[in-house]
C-alpha cells in the first residue's frame, strides 16, 4: 500500500486494514512463506495418491492441513489389523475390514473442512487400462511403494502427456527410503532466493552516478555526512579511484587500498555509514555480471532471432532477458528493492526513489522485449515478477523415472562418486523388482482378521534373500562390477539373518529384515519430505529435488543422486 502526497491522514486511515479474516489467520504461518499466490496455487491443486499406506496418509496430512484443493486416494485394499497398527488415519474402532481408502479419506478430511477428498477403490490395473485421461485431471500424482511392474507402466503413461502431471515415485523399506520426481520442466519465477540482486555500485546508472558526484563531501553538514548511505559512498569512492588509477581495483593490494580510501573518508569514528561502506567494499570491485545460473539457462535457448512461436512463456521471458543483457552494460534489469543501510530517512528514501525510477525504466524496456519476443499474451504481473526476480529465477529440466537404472555407465560411475546414496537406491530398486515377481502380502491381507497367529505363520510367503537381491543388483550394474560395503549395508538393512549370521556367512541365504516395513517414523519423515516437494511442485516458488533423493534413517542422512 502506498500513499500519494495529497492524501491526508483521514484518507490514510480509511485505507487502513483491520484484523485479517479467519482463513488468513488460520494459514498465517504458511502465508508468510508462500504468500497469497502460493496459497491460490495450492487451493487449485488436485493431487492423486496411489495407496493408502501410513506413508501415503502422512504425506496427505501435510497437504490437507495447508489447504490443498482436492485429493484422491486410489487404493483397493481392505484395512488389516497391521494397517491400523501403523496408520494414524485409520480408526481402531471402525476401519477394520473396510476399504482403507474410504477410511483414510474420511479421517483426513477431519483436518480441514476447506479440502475436498475422494476415495477410489478401483484396482490400479483397471485404472491404468483407462489410459491417460484418468491421470491428466490431476496436478500431481504420488505413487507410494507400488510394485515395479506398475510403476513401469504408470511412469511412461504420465511422461507422454505433454502437460501431464509430475509423478513422485516413493519407495521405503524399514529405515531406508527414496523418492524421485518425474517432470518435464519446473520453472521458478516467484523465487525466495537468499542471494541479493546487484546494486550496480560498479556500473552506476546516470542518476545514481550524478547523485554521488554532486555531493559536496568537504563542506557537508556533519549530521548529513554521517548519513550518506554506503551505496552512495562506494559509488563516489570508486569514481575517485578510477580517476586516479584509471581502472577499478583488481589486485589484492589495490582492493585493500581502496577499502582504506573509503575509511579515510570517515570524519569521526562514530560515522557508522563509512564502516558499512568499507565492509561492503567488495560490491565496488566485484563486477555486476549475469549470474552463472541465469547464464546456464540462456544456454538452453535456441540462438537469438529464432522464432519462439508456441514456446513456453518461461522460454519467451528468458529470451527477452537474454536480449536485455546483450546490450551494455550487460546486466540484469535493476531491482527496486534496496537493503537497509545506515542513513537517515530523507537520504535513504531519496536513494530508494532513485533506484525505483531506474527500475521502472528498465522494466519498461524489458516489457517491450517480451512483446518483441512474441510474449504479448503473457500476463503483465508474470512479466513484472520475472523482471523483479531475474537474478534468482530457476528452470529445471527433469528426467523420466527409470532412466538412471537403464544407464549402466552412470550407475557404475555413481557407485564410485556417491557410494552410500547409490547403494541405497539400488538396494531399494532390487527389492522392488523382487517384490514384483514375488508379491508379499501381509499374511492376513485377505482381510481375514480371524486367522489365528499359527495359521498366519504357516501362510507366510518366502522372504527375499540377500543372495536373490544381490543377484538382481549384479544384473543391473553388470557382473564385472564389484559391490562395495555400502551396497551390502544397504541390502542388509532389508536382508539379514535372524541370528546375526550376516557377519560370518557374508550375508548369503539371509532372510529379510524389513522388506515390507512401513515404520511409523520413516513414514512420517517421508510424508514430510514428499509433501514439501509436492508444495514446491505446486506453488513453483521453491526448487524441488531433481534426481533421486535417498534417505537412510539408520545413520540419519539424506543424499541426492543427480
Amino acid at each position: 500500500m502506498s500513499f500519494s502526497e495529497s492524501q491526508d491522514i483521514e484518507g490514510a486511515t480509511t485505507a487502513i486494514q483491520s484484523q485479517p479474516d479467519n482463513k488468513t489467520r488460520r494459514y498465517d504461518r504458511q502465508l508468510r512463506l508462500w504468500a497469497a499466490s502460493g496459497q491460490t496455487a495450492l487451493e487449485q491443486a488436485r493431487v492423486l495418491l496411489i495407496s493408502a499406506s501410513a506413508l501415503s496418509t502422512s504425506t496427505l496430512k501435510n497437504l490437507v492441513l495447508p489447504g490443498v484443493g482436492h485429493f484422491t486416494i486410489l487404493d483397493s485394499a481392505l484395512t488389516t489389523p497391521a494397517d491400523i497398527g501403523n496408520n494414524f488415519f485409520l480408526d481402531p474402532d471402525a476401519s477394520l475390514g473396510r476399504h482403507r481408502a474410504d477410511e483414510a479419506v474420511r479421517l483426513l478430511l477431519e483436518l480441514n473442512e476447506g479440502v475436498e477428498g475422494v476415495a477410489d477403490t478401483s484396482d490400479i490395473e483397471s485404472v491404468l487400462a483407462q489410459g491417460p485421461s484418468y491421470f491428466s485431471a490431476f496436478t500431481l500424482v504420488i505413487a507410494v511403494n507400488l510394485p515395479q511392474s506398475i510403476i513401469e507402466r504408470l511412469s511412461p503413461l504420465l511422461w507422454d502427456i505433454p502437460t501431464g502431471p509430475p509423478l513422485i515415485v516413493v519407495r521405503s523399506a524399514g529405515f531406508l527410503a527414496e523418492f524421485f520426481i518425474q517432470f518435464h520442466d519446473h520453472d521458478v519465477i516467484e523465487s525466495h532466493s537468499e542471494t541479493a540482486p546487484s546494486l550496480r555500485v560498479d556500473k552506476p546508472f546516470p542518476e545514481l552516478l550524478n547523485h554521488a558526484l554532486q555531493l559536496d563531501l568537504k563542506n557537508m553538514d556533519p549530521t548529513d555526512h554521517g548519513h550518506i548511505p554506503y551505496v552512495v559512498i562506494l559509488v563516489r569512492a570508486l569514481e575517485d579511484w578510477k580517476r586516479e588509477h584509471g581502472a577499478p581495483p583488481s589486485t589484492y593490494a589495490e582492493k585493500r587500498a581502496f577499502k582504506e580510501s573509503v575509511m579515510k573518508m570517515q570524519r569521526h569514528q562514530d560515522e557508522e555509514n563509512f564502516e558499512e561502506a568499507a565492509a561492503n567494499a567488495y560490491r565496488a570491485y566485484t563486477s555486476s555480471t549475469i549470474p552463472s545460473s541465469v547464464q546456464a539457462l540462456f544456454d538452453t535457448l535456441p540462438p537469438p532471432d529464432t522464432p519462439l512461436d508456441g514456446q513456453r512463456h518461461f522460454s519467451i521471458l528468458l529470451s527477452a532477458l537474454r536480449a536485455f543483457t546483450s546490450e551494455p552494460p550487460h546486466v540484469l534489469p535493476l531491482s527496486a528493492t534496496l537493503p537497509d543501510m545506515k542513513s537517515d530517512t530523507e537520504n535513504y528514501v531519496a536513494l530508494q526513489n532513485i533506484y525505483r525510477r531506474r527500475a521502472d525504466e528498465e522494466r519498461a524496456v524489458f516489457r517491450q522485449l517480451v512483446r518483441d519476443a512474441g510474449g504479448a499474451d503473457i500476463p503483465a504481473e508474470v512479466v513484472d515478477l520475472f523482471c523483479k526476480n531475474a537474478h534468482a529465477i530457476a528452470g529445471l529440466k527433469g528426467a523420466r523415472w527409470g532412466d538412471l537404472d537403464t544407464d549402466r555407465e552412470k550407475l557404475v560411475s555413481r557407485l564410485q562418486t556417491a557410494p552410500r546414496e547409490m547403494a541405497t537406491h539400488i538396494a531399494l530398486s532390487a527389492l522392488s523388482a523382487w517384490l514384483s515377481l514375488n508379491p508379499i502380502t501381509q499374511t492376513h491381507a485377505n482381510g481375514n482378521a480371524n486367522a489365528s497367529a499359527q495359521n498366519a505363520a504357516s501362510l507366510a510367503p518366502p522372504l527375499p534373500t540377500a543372495e536373490a537381491l544381490l543377484a538382481i543388483v549384479q544384473g543391473v550394474v553388470g557382473i564385472d562390477v564389484e559391490l562395495g560395503k555400502e551396497v551390502h549395508d544397504a541390502v542388509g538393512e532389508a536382508y539379514v539373518s535372524p541370528h546375526s549370521a550376516w557377519r560370518s556367512t557374508h550375508h548369503l541365504h539371509d532372510s529379510a529384515r524389513a522388506p515390507t516395513a512401513d515404520l511409523p517414523n520413516v513414514a512420517a519423515f517421508m510424508g514430510g519430505l514428499i509433501a514439501q516437494e509436492a508444495i514446491k511442485m505446486i506453488t513453483k516458488q521453491y526448487v524441488p529435488v531433481n534426481g533421486h533423493c535417498v534417505i537412510d534413517l539408520v545413520d540419519t542422512w539424506t543424499g541426492i543422486i543427480a
Binding site: 492441513l65 497398527g85 494414524f88 551390502h488 539379514v496 522388506p515 514439501q532 516437494e533 529435488v545 545413520d555
Partner: protein, 434 residues
C-alpha cells in the same frame, strides 16, 4: 466389524496389542541389520521394554509436539507424558493436526493427550498444562527419555541445564537422553544430547541466528523500513500513550492500535509496506511454520528415541540439519562439546575486555554475545556483589556499581560469577584486561 480385543489388565480397561498390531515395527525389532550394534537383543525383551516399561516425556504439544506424540504412540511407546503451557490458537490449525476449530482456547496438552488416546488404543498420555519450570528433579528423574519440540530458546536452555545437573556419575539411570527438534519455514534440525557426554544445547548457543534488533536511535529518529515504524509504535509509543497497561500481542485490538500508529508514522516519513500482518509478525516475532517441515523433524526426533529405546539401530551422533528450500539438503555431523560451556564444561569462559569498560558495558556484552545471551544477568565476584537484578533492595544497593570501571571491582585474571533467574546454572567468567 471385528474390533481389536479388549482385556482388563490390573483392573483398568486396557486394549491388548492385537495380532499384527506391530507387523511393521516388529520387522526391525525381530532382526538386526548389518549396522546394528551387537548388543541388540532382538525379540521379546526389547519389545517388552518399549511397550511396558519405557517412560518418555514430550515437552511441547505444538507444531512438533503433535507430530511427536502421534509417532511415539504408533511406534509402541505406551507411557507418554506431555507438558505445554499454551492454549490453542486459530493460527495453529495449519499444522497442529490434533486440534480442530472447536478446540481454540483449550490447553494444547490436554486436547493432544485425549486425541492420541482415542486414536491409538492402549497408550496412556499424561498431560500437564503448565510450565516445565513448575516441575522438580524428582519429576524429571522418572523418565527414560525426553523429547523437546519447543519454540523457545529460554525453555530449551532450562531443560538442558536441568538434565545436565541431574546426572549423577554413580547412577547410570540419572542420565536422560535429550532429543531436541526445531523448525523454521522449510528448515529444521534434530539432535541427540547425552547430558555430560555429548555437546549440550548450551554448547551450541552460538549456532542460533542472531535476532534482528533495531537500534533505538534508528527507531526514534531515522526510520527507513516499515519494521522501524512498527518498532516505534510498540517500543516507544505504547508505553508513552498506554502507560502501565501491558501490551498483549495476542489481542487483535492491541495489534490494530500498533498498526494504526505505525501506518501514520510510515506515511509521515513516506515509507511503504506497513501492513497488519507485518505489524503482527514484528511484534510477536513470528517464525513461519508448516506441517511438512514439522513432520520431518518430529519424525527424526522420534526415530532417534525409538533407536535409543530399542537399540535396533545406532542413534544420531549428534546433529542433523535440513534445508528444504532448494532441493533437499541435509548435513549430519558431530557437534563438539565446549570445555568452557557454562552448563557441561566446567572451565571458566575467558573474556578480555578493555580497561575502560564499566560494569554496565560488560552486562551489555553478556546480553548480546552469541555464545552467552544472558538476559538480566546478576554479577558477583567471590563474596562481593557487583550487580544484582533482584531483590529490589540489593538492586538499589548495587546499582551505583553499574557506572564504575570493572577493573576497580575485579582484578586482572579475576573470576566473575554470572547468574540469571531464568537459567538454572551460573556462568563463570575469567576477566583479563587489554
Amino acid at each position: 466389524m471385528a474390533t481389536p480385543d479388549v482385556a482388563r489388565v490390573n483392573g483398568s480397561s486396557h486394549r491388548t496389542d492385537w495380532h499384527d498390531r506391530y507387523y511393521h515395527v516388529d520387522q526391525v525389532l525381530d532382526r538386526p541389520g548389518p549396522r546394528t550394534d551387537p548388543s541388540f537383543m532382538a525379540g521379546a525383551g526389547v519389545k517388552e521394554f518399549l511397550r511396558t516399561q519405557c517412560k518418555i516425556l514430550v515437552i511441547g504439544a505444538g507444531g512438533l509436539g503433535c507430530e511427536i506424540l502421534a509417532n511415539l504412540a504408533l511406534s509402541g511407546f505406551k507411557d507418554i507424558h506431555v507438558i505445554d503451557m499454551d492454549t490453542i490458537d486459530i493460527s495453529n490449525l495449519n499444522r497442529q493436526f490434533l486440534f480442530r476449530p472447536k478446540d481454540v482456547g483449550k490447553p494444547k496438552a490436554l486436547v493432544a493427550a485425549e486425541y492420541i488416546m482415542k486414536r491409538v488404543p492402549g497408550v496412556t498420555v499424561t498431560p500437564y498444562f503448565g510450565k516445565i519450570q513448575d516441575k522438580d528433579d524428582d519429576y524429571y528423574m522418572q523418565f527414560n527419555l525426553v523429547i523437546c519440540g519447543l519454540d523457545s530458546v529460554e525453555a530449551r536452555r532450562w531443560i538442558n541445564a536441568t538434565l545436565v545437573n541431574l546426572v549423577d556419575p554413580e547412577n547410570p539411570e540419572s542420565l536422560k537422553p535429550l532429543i531436541d527438534g526445531g523448525t523454521e519455514g522449510f528448515k529444521g534440525q534434530a539432535r541427540v544430547i547425552l547430558p555430560t557426554v555429548t555437546s549440550c544445547y548450551e554448547c551450541s548457543l552460538d549456532m542460533l541466528n542472531k535476532p534482528t534488533a533495531f537500534p533505538i536511535c534508528t527507531i526514534a529518529n531515522t526510520p527507513r523500513l516499515p519494521e522501524h515504524c512498527i518498532e516505534w509504535a510498540s517500543v516507544l509509543e505504547w508505553p508513552r500513550v498506554q502507560g502501565e497497561k501491558k501490551m498483549d500481542t495476542d489481542d487483535p485490538e492491541h495489534i490494530q492500535w500498533l498498526y494504526n500508529i505505525a501506518s501514520a508514522r510510515a506515511k509521515e516519513f513516506k515509507i511503504e509496506g506497513v501492513t497488519w500482518q507485518l505489524t503482527q509478525g514484528v511484534v510477536k516475532n513470528i517464525i513461519p511454520a508448516i506441517a511438512s517441515t514439522n513432520a520431518i523433524i518430529a519424525a527424526s526426533c522420534c526415530n532417534e528415541a525409538f533407536k535409543i529405546a530399542t537399540s535396533s539401530a545406532a542413534y544420531l551422533n549428534n546433529y542433523f540439519m535440513l534445508i528444504g528450500t532448494d532441493g533437499v539438503y541435509s548435513y549430519t555431523f558431530e557437534h563438539e562439546k565446549r570445555d568452557d560451556c557454562p552448563v557441561c564444561g566446567g572451565e571458566s569462559l575467558e573474556v578480555s575486555v578493555p580497561r575502560s569498560w564499566t560494569v554496565e558495558r560488560l552486562i551489555e556484552m553478556l546480553v548480546e554475545k552469541q555464545d552467552i545471551q544472558i538476559k538480566k544477568p546478576s554479577l558477583s565476584s567471590g563474596a562481593k556483589h557487583i550487580y544484582f537484578q533482584a531483590p529490589k533492595q540489593l538492586e538499589e544497593a548495587t546499582r551505583p556499581n553499574l557506572e564504575k570501571p570493572l577493573v576497580d571491582l575485579v582484578p586482572d585474571g579475576g573470576d566473575i560469577t554470572v547468574t540469571a533467574s531464568s537459567l538454572p546454572f551460573s556462568l563463570s567468567l575469567r576477566v583479563t584486561y587489554v
